[in-house]
């Protein structure tokens, strides 16, 4: 285990930022701390780094209890949300900083530093910018320099706070894959904080979902998506249709013949792609009507209205591949039959 957190709690005044967090992160993983804003994910990252002190609980890095160690002796690399590059230093000096401030005994000589910095700058493909100042760089370039700077001290753990938060959508896409590949090459245990579930699913090998200072679920992206532990995770990760059997949805599901035999709770969450649609042959009793649809690239998302006496209720979303949608030749106002392939049940 590379990172262990035991019973971490943190209060800010009356606000509970972290409520008894226990987390084990194995060596070499790329972990996403995912949650809505204010869920405590950045606080948790800063506690691991030592930039913040937990009220109670212990932090172990590579088996060492570092709870009382200051940030400078924790051997972590931290990439800040706004990069925090040293504005009065060139890119080269920024990356060299961690090596130059080492105590004299362990400080490498100039030749070594120069070689190492250029190697790191080549790793992030920005060696040609080595004599520029941070304010002459684009957002994506700063991000990569910040990463190179953090890697210079060969951290045992790499921590990234909203690494793509301040970037344009297009740059963000590229950097996500780049970070994933970089992690694959370096194999440093890394944690990044994000509020974007798509980003977490795309980049991370493990996802930790946080809400209100608690861990809701931890697992691989597919575990989290296919087997959400609770209603919050199911709603937060990807789109989902919520059917509440205690409310009027029960009647509609009954008349639509959708109640699955193995129902295990009162609330059913159904992913849009788990709803299969067919043109209805029995116009009058058909459970839903096509209201509209949107193109999501390879997929089409259909917006359906429930037929019956509760037409004001929330629409149902269904997704299907583009070519399948074309075969169905649906029009707005068409009545359709539904089949629910799979549902997640919560109480």
């Amino acid at each position: 285990m590379s990172i262990n957190l035991n019973n971490i709690c943190k209060q800010f005044g009356a606000f509970t930022a972290l409520d008894n967090i226990n987390l084990d992160i194995p060596e070499g993983e790329l972990v996403a701390l995912l949650g809505p804003s204010g869920c405590g994910k950045t606080t948790l990252l800063r506690i691991i780094a030592g930039l913040e002190q937990a009220d109670t609980g212990d932090v172990f890095l590579k088996g060492d209890n570092v709870t009382d160690k200051p940030v400078k002796s924790r051997q972590i690399g931290f990439v800040f949300q706004h990069y925090a590059l040293f504005r009065h230093m060139t890119v080269f000096e920024n990356v060299a900083f961690g090596l130059r401030v080492k105590p004299r005994r362990s400080r490498p000589n100039n030749e070594f530093i120069t070689k190492k910095v250029h190697a790191l700058l080549e790793l992030v493909q920005l060696d040609w910018l080595n004599d520029r100042y941070p304010d002459q760089l684009s957002g994506g370039q700063r991000q990569r320099i910040a990463l190179a700077r953090a890697l210079a001290v060969e951290p045992s753990v790499l921590l990234l706070d909203e690494p793509f938060g301040a970037l344009d959508a297009s740059v963000r896409k590229d950097l996500r894959m780049w970070l994933r590949n970089l992690h694959h090459d370096l194999n440093v245990t890394s944690i990044f904080v994000t509020h974007d579930q798509e980003e977490a699913m795309e980049v991370a090998s493990q996802v930790v979902v946080l809400n209100h200072g608690r861990i809701e679920q931890q697992g691989s992206p597919s575990e989290i998506y296919d087997y959400p532990a609770n209603a919050f995770v199911s709603r937060f990760i990807g789109q989902t249709n919520v059917f509440d059997l205690a409310e009027h949805d029960s009647d509609w599901l009954q008349t639509a013949g959708l109640l699955t035999p193995n129902q295990a709770g009162k609330i059913a969450h159904v992913r849009p792609h788990d709803i299969v649609i067919q043109k209805s042959t029995t116009e009058n009793t058909a459970p839903a009507t096509v209201k509209d649809w949107q193109h999501l690239g390879a997929l089409i998302r259909l917006e359906l209205v429930k037929n019956g006496n509760n037409e004001s209720s929330a629409p149902v979303y269904a997704e299907m591949p583009n070519d399948q949608f074309k075969e169905l030749e649906l029009n707005r106002g068409d009545k359709v039959d539904l089949k629910i392939r799979q549902a997640h049940w919560f109480h």
Partner: protein
């Protein structure tokens, strides 16, 4: 041809020019004549009077032992107060910009106190505390320690009037710059001192120098507070501004104006350096803000 570029467009410059000419010339003329009358003319008078009896008299009155000792004392006072005010200013700004604590606003207000209190009061406070009839007076005279009417008193009074200068310059600057770069340095293994000298200090240096400069100008030019505690002992407790007054009262006009010309020169140099520092500071902040959007 782009149709948008053909559209009439009012620039801000055209708007400012839309005032009638006579308003512009009247306002510019008024400002210039007031500056001329109240700033340039007195400065010129100082120089004219100082050289009224020629270069050799000017030189002689500046090299007079009383004048020299006044200069030495003024330098000593500045040399002691400026570093102390600088250390205080950095610590106060650090505390206020970096930590949240109860009474923070009160502290900010208190730092400004010397600006709102008359310097004479500041001097009187020290006389009341350390003077012969003051609280600590008997104890001090028992132990043969002289504070009032001696150099320590002058330094204390100068400290009182100068201590907001550096702090006031740094507080908004450090609040604006934030804490992230320092945290980054710490996470890279730098110690607290290394972080301060390699990250914090370079980031605040122009603001700091500006504060030090203003503090120095005030320390050398302070009259009111120092006048109360000094006792005007020639060659011993007269600073340069006090020496100007004493000489003038004794009808030694050349001596008074010669010393005054030194102070005036100090003011001009301060002004020029200050303009340069503020220009550098603005550039630094600009670089910082583009970095953060």
């Amino acid at each position: 041809m782009n149709s948008i570029s053909a559209r009439p467009y009012i620039t801000p410059k055209m708007l400012t020019l839309s005032d009638p000419d006579w308003v512009r010339y009247a306002l510019i003329g008024l400002t210039l004549s007031i500056i001329g009358l109240f700033l340039v003319l007195p400065l010129a008078t100082v120089l004219l009077e100082a050289f009224a009896k020629g270069w050799s008299t000017y030189k002689a009155s500046l090299t007079h032992s009383d004048a020299l000792s006044a200069m030495r004392l003024t330098l000593l006072v500045a040399l002691v107060t400026v570093p102390l005010t600088t250390v205080f200013g950095i610590s106060a700004a650090w505390a206020i910009a970096r930590f949240n604590f109860r009474g923070k606003n009160l502290l900010i207000t208190l730092i400004d106190l010397p600006f709102s209190v008359s310097p004479v009061i500041a001097g009187l406070i020290y006389v009341l505390i350390f003077g012969a009839q003051g609280w600590l007076g008997p104890w001090l005279s028992e132990h043969d320690i002289k504070i009032v009417f001696a150099v320590p008193g002058i330094i204390l009074a100068t400290l009182f009037v100068t201590f907001p200068f550096v702090a006031r310059e740094l507080i908004p600057l450090m609040q604006e710059m934030g804490h992230e770069e320092e945290e980054a340095a710490l996470s890279l293994g730098a110690s607290g001192w290394k972080t301060f000298f390699r990250i914090t200090l370079p980031n605040i240096k122009w603001g700091l120098l500006n504060g030090v400069l203003l503090c120095n100008a005030r320390a050398m030019g302070e009259f009111g507070a120092v006048s109360v505690v000094s006792g005007h002992i020639r060659g011993l407790t007269n600073t340069l501004p006090l020496h100007v007054e004493v000489s003038y009262n004794e009808y030694d006009f050349v001596g008074a104006f010669a010393s005054a010309s030194i102070l005036a020169a100090l003011a001009v140099v301060t002004l020029v350096v200050k303009t340069f520092l503020e220009w550098k500071l603005k550039q630094d902040l600009k670089a910082g803000s583009t970095r953060r959007w």
